[in-house]
């Protein structure tokens, strides 16, 4: 479907639908906390400002009754289980509210033995989409303010979750902006591609928000912070920035779940998810690997086949 046809059609998700998901999440969270299936639930509470949401770990029934789901629930909560709230898993099973794209991260973390399925109670959200960044949050999700990743979402149904909150989440076809951008870059002559990325990377201030928010960047010591020997220059200069971005993309290749959180948090608007996508696309073409909703034995760069392609090697 072309963009024009899309414009004429009113694409929006009824706020009622988010209310229904909210109810379902609350009911389930209260239940599993009451019967002590879990010690806590990682979910979203209303933010202080109207129309916002903030991630929270709730441990009581009263708090659980305040959980919400709205288009403002953008965060991928799985990062709480590898970083900020890592300790909570030691106390017992944990409930977690997960959209389809967040579940890909959970599955990847299970593949890497960072999480065990039996330690989690996954409240999957049949997700119609969330707000993009830098858009007007009108209370209703429309084609104008939906996140770029949601336009091309293939995981609206959180298959494999313990329970699913919500019923349907069909959106009319949206223009795949990110895929179009990918195609545009791929079609550029090589020197132009270099100029494109150089301009983007040069703006990076090395705040490391993208690393902090990524569920897969759980290394206790990042290669890019090491000083002796220093592998990647750590000050925000173009040389170190280029290296940092290539290393980041490389270290996430075959692992990234495509939640696009890195891109969302970047204060300098660097399109990081394009790099993630390029790597994902290559690993799909070469090794038929795609980040999915179920854990696998090993990621594509942790295994090999004797007859892997080696046409580039002499």
């Amino acid at each position: 479907m072309n963009a024009k046809a899309n414009k004429n059609q009113v694409t929006c998700i009824e706020p009622d639908y988010y209310q229904a998901i909210t109810e379902a999440i609350r009911k389930e969270a209260v239940k599993i906390l009451k019967d002590e299936t879990v010690v806590g639930v990682v979910g979203y509470l209303p933010g202080r400002r109207k129309g916002t949401a903030s991630p929270a770990l709730v441990t009581t029934v009263e708090e659980a009754e305040k959980l919400i789901f709205s288009p403002a629930c953008v965060n991928n909560l799985s990062v709480y289980l590898t970083k900020a709230k890592k300790g909570v898993l030691k106390q017992g099973k944990v409930g977690i509210v997960a959209k389809g794209c967040d579940m890909r991260a959970l599955a990847g973390l299970m593949t890497e033995s960072q999480l065990q399925r039996e330690d989690l109670f996954i409240i999957g959200v049949v997700c119609p989409g969330v707000y993009g960044f830098g858009v007007e949050r009108t209370g209703t999700l429309t084609e104008a303010n939906i996140a770029r990743k949601c336009r091309e979402c293939t995981v609206h149904m959180p298959e494999g979750a313990d329970v699913a909150a919500g019923t349907h989440a069909e959106l009319a076809d949206l223009t795949p902006e990110e895929a179009q951008e990918m195609a545009r870059i791929e079609a550029m002559p090589q020197a132009e591609r270099w100029a494109f990325w150089k301009e983007h990377f040069s703006r990076c201030i090395r705040c490391m928000a993208c690393r902090q928010v990524c569920p897969f960047c759980y290394c206790e010591q990042c290669l890019c912070d090491k000083n002796r020997p220093q592998a990647v220059e750590s000050s925000p200069r173009p040389a170190g920035n280029m290296a940092w971005h290539l290393v980041r993309a490389m270290h996430l290749a075959g692992r990234c779940g495509g939640c696009a959180e890195c891109e969302r948090v970047c204060p300098m608007d660097i399109p990081l998810n394009l790099l993630n996508r390029r790597m994902a696309q290559e690993l799909k073409e070469l090794y038929d690997f795609e980040a999915g909703l179920t854990p696998v034995d090993k990621g594509p760069l942790n295994q090999y086949k004797e007859d892997d392609d080696q046409s580039f090697i002499k």
Binding site: Q190, S202, A239, A253, Q303, Y304, F312, I313
Partner: protein, 167 residues
Amino acid sequence: MHAATKQHDFEPKIVAFVCTWCTYAGADLAGTSRMQYPPNVRVLKFPCTGRIDPVFILRAFQKGADGVLVSGCHPGDCHYMAGNFHARRRFAAFRALLDFVGVDLNRLQFSWVSAAEGGKWVDVVTELTERVRTMGPMPEFKELEHEEQWSGAINTPELKEAYDSIG
């Protein structure tokens, strides 16, 4: 007899990351057999191609290499059983990434050279050196080294005016 050494306008710097068990021994064989190959190549020895991190390649380019060679044991011959199999996948992915950000892959060569293949080592090194020679120096990464933050062009008239007024 040695062929007369030719003078070139440009001598490329080539960095070769090789594994100690096969390619290094292969290069050694080329040397002990008195085969000739371009002296442009600087060989760095690693235990295994599996130990050669993509970040080494980046660093080589940043520090002035015009071409990089990564070479190790043939598949199945790895001293550590599978190091080169893992490296093969990793470098396949890394090439795609470099291509995506606009690096010319003709400057980066991968090869399998066994301890018995002194001749192949000579061929691989010669071919890469001559190819890079025709391509000329690699400016991209070196330029980055000398640039400071906000190196982007001054692209609005207001900024340009403000900049010029600083005098």
